[in-house]
């Protein structure tokens, strides 16, 4: 088993994969969205309750590979209680971390998110790690526009 692989499948990732957080149904959600990656068939459903521009609660149901499930699980841990602005900044930082771009914040400060950097070496897997984040961004965007059921695709 080589090191790069262990960078991808870090213990934290495997832990989130085996025991995904935030897998709850939210009855009074303000936004619901579904995302999928047609290439690998991974799918995520997301419910978000937002109040006063704060993500109060989020439910993430992800069916997919270790990376996409773990990413969604970490997302649920991090975004609850954050403002819409903060969430956007974090999502942008995750994207930057994965694709090698610049970001304004340090992911170390946000739960386990920094471990996603291991994915960078595996271009095909970047989409897996991004799926939940893209879906969340779409969710928020359509919430901002007053819609609440967008479908997205990372393909």
């Amino acid at each position: 088993m080589n090191d790069q692989l262990n960078e991808l499948y870090r213990d934290i990732i495997m832990d989130h994969y085996r025991d995904p957080r935030g897998r709850k149904k939210i009855d009074d959600a303000d936004a619901h969205s579904e995302g999928k990656n047609p290439t690998c068939g991974d799918e995520v459903e997301m419910d978000v309750r937002i109040k006063d521009d704060i993500v109060e609660e989020i439910g993430v149901h992800c069916a997919g590979c270790a990376i996409s499930v773990a990413s969604g699980s970490m997302l649920s841990e991090v975004v609850e209680g954050k403002s819409i602005e903060e969430v956007k900044t974090i999502a942008a930082a995750v994207k930057a971390k994965l694709t090698g771009g610049e970001s304004s914040i340090d992911l170390d400060d946000f739960g386990d998110l920094d471990v996603l950097k291991g994915v960078q070496q595996f271009p095909v897997r970047i989409k897996c790690a991004l799926l939940s984040w893209v879906t969340l961004m779409n969710s928020i965007e359509s919430w901002e526009h007053g819609h609440s059921h967008p479908d997205v695709s990372t393909e």
Partner: protein, 428 residues
């Protein structure tokens, strides 16, 4: 004059009536197979996606560019003459390889995909109208699906599908009712790139012809792996790709019955495919040139010649036999692994060497392929360009191991060990 002489391996043994090939000998002709991946030696099991190339194909490419490169046709100088002979010679070789069809019936394209697009467009636009039906199967590759979906939308024709059963075999009991009087064409894969199933195309063709429908055979997975005789099949169209049968990328073949090809309008247009051009009109060249617009992939076609010679030397019966043996060896062991589910038939008499499977519980195909790669084992994961098939199965994707002439039982053993390591890694 003699061109690209390809060094042929002495690798065949006769065992009783069956010619047996020696994959270990064959491996030595394939430079890439000695590559190391992630610190270990490569076990290449992604042959349904593309195959590796023998030294003789690389030599033929190199010989073409080093000694004969020129644009084909219409050139009066020596190089142009040689390049044309090499190019046209491969056409004869292909015609012979698939059962001795006419050279005019062999059209070179960029790949199987382009060949199907050619038929869907050139035949479809003039022969399909609202009410007509196109019959496909539920196990088609997107290449034999999307062009028909599009032409159906454009012409108003409708699509029907031959379903598959739990084991990944076509259900043809109802074929008689699926092929209606309005069915104009049946497009079916001879070997599924997901299930590995070898479909009963002979029966399908017979029944379709009885009903007056044409049949296109997607032979992208069959021609590389088993003897295919187009004349015996009586297929109307048949397509395949060089890169899946030891040949270069960027070369495909459309076989079409002469009278059909003659009746069709061209697909691409431009140089080489015209007879006469005026400011507002153009007439078409004779077959096969009518369908080959512009400068073709001459070097690729030159390399394809060497690929077919290599396969011919081994013999397609021996290729098929080897794959049956190795596939059985793999299926038997995979069936023992309780943490994977094989999709597709288990009987090697009705299947080729592409084995798709899903993992139990937390074992996702992407993760399986990723971890296998760290062991130097190359398999594919995804929908293998067959989304509707996977949707029907209720899975988003699958992992696939697929064999070819250079794969050994050792490769299978490594693969099985790899799968066990994956299981352990994920602690399933």
């Amino acid at each position: 004059m003699s061109f690209s002489v390809s060094a042929m391996p002495e690798t065949l043994e006769k065992a009783g009536n069956i010619t047996v090939l020696d994959p270990r000998q064959i491996q030595m002709d394939f430079p890439l197979l000695s590559r190391r991946i992630n610190g270990t030696h490569l076990v290449y099991l992604d042959n349904a996606a593309t195959t590796q190339k023998p030294e003789s194909v690389l030599k033929a490419l190199n010989d073409y560019y080093t000694n004969h490169n020129a644009n084909v046709h219409r050139g009066l100088h020596t190089l142009a003459d040689e390049a044309t002979r090499i190019y046209e010679n491969t056409r004869d070789t292909v015609a012979e390889f698939i059962g001795g069809v006419k050279r005019e019936e062999i059209i070179f394209t960029g790949g199987a995909t382009e060949a199907i697009n050619l038929v869907a467009y050139s035949w479809g636009m003039d022969n399909l109208k609202p009410g007509d039906r196109i019959l496909l199967t539920e196990m088609e590759h997107h290449a034999n699906l999307v062009p028909w979906i599009r032409i159906a939308k454009q012409t108003g024709a409708e699509l029907d599908y031959i379903p598959f059963d739990d084991s990944g075999c076509l259900i043809i009991d109802d074929l008689d009712s699926l092929i209606t009087d309005n069915t104009k064409i049946v497009a079916v894969t001879q070997m599924s790139n997901v299930f590995g199933t070898i479909n009963p195309v002979q029966e399908i063709i017979e029944m379709a012809h009885q009903k007056g429908a044409l049949v296109l055979i997607d032979a992208a997975q069959s021609v590389p792996h088993m003897p295919v005789n187009v004349l015996e099949l009586d297929a109307d169209f048949l397509v395949f790709s060089a890169h899946k049968m030891l040949g270069p990328t960027g070369v495909g073949v459309l076989y079409g019955k002469q009278e059909l090809l003659e009746s069709m309008e061209p697909f691409h247009s431009g140089g080489e495919m015209i007879n006469e051009v005026t400011w507002d009109n153009a007439t078409w060249a004779e077959l096969p040139h009518k369908f080959e617009a512009g400068t073709p992939n001459i070097a690729g076609v030159a390399g394809f010649q060497a690929a077919i010679e290599y396969l011919d030397h081994i013999g397609m019966d021996a290729v098929r036999h080897h794959e049956k043996v190795i596939t059985k060896y793999a299926l038997d062991q995979m069936s023992e692994l309780e943490f994977i589910n094989i999709i597709g038939p288990k009987d090697v008499n009705i299947r080729g060497g592409a084995i798709s499977f899903t993992g139990a519980g937390l074992l996702h195909p992407h993760d399986i392929a990723q971890v296998l790669d760290s062991h130097g084992i190359a398999v594919r994961a995804g929908h293998h360009c067959a989304q509707p098939l996977h949707r029907k199965l209720g899975v988003g994707s699958s992992a696939r191991a697929s064999f070819y002439i250079y794969n050994t039982n050792d490769d299978v053993d490594a693969f099985i060990e790899g799968l066990i390591a994956v299981k352990d890694y994920f602690g399933v």
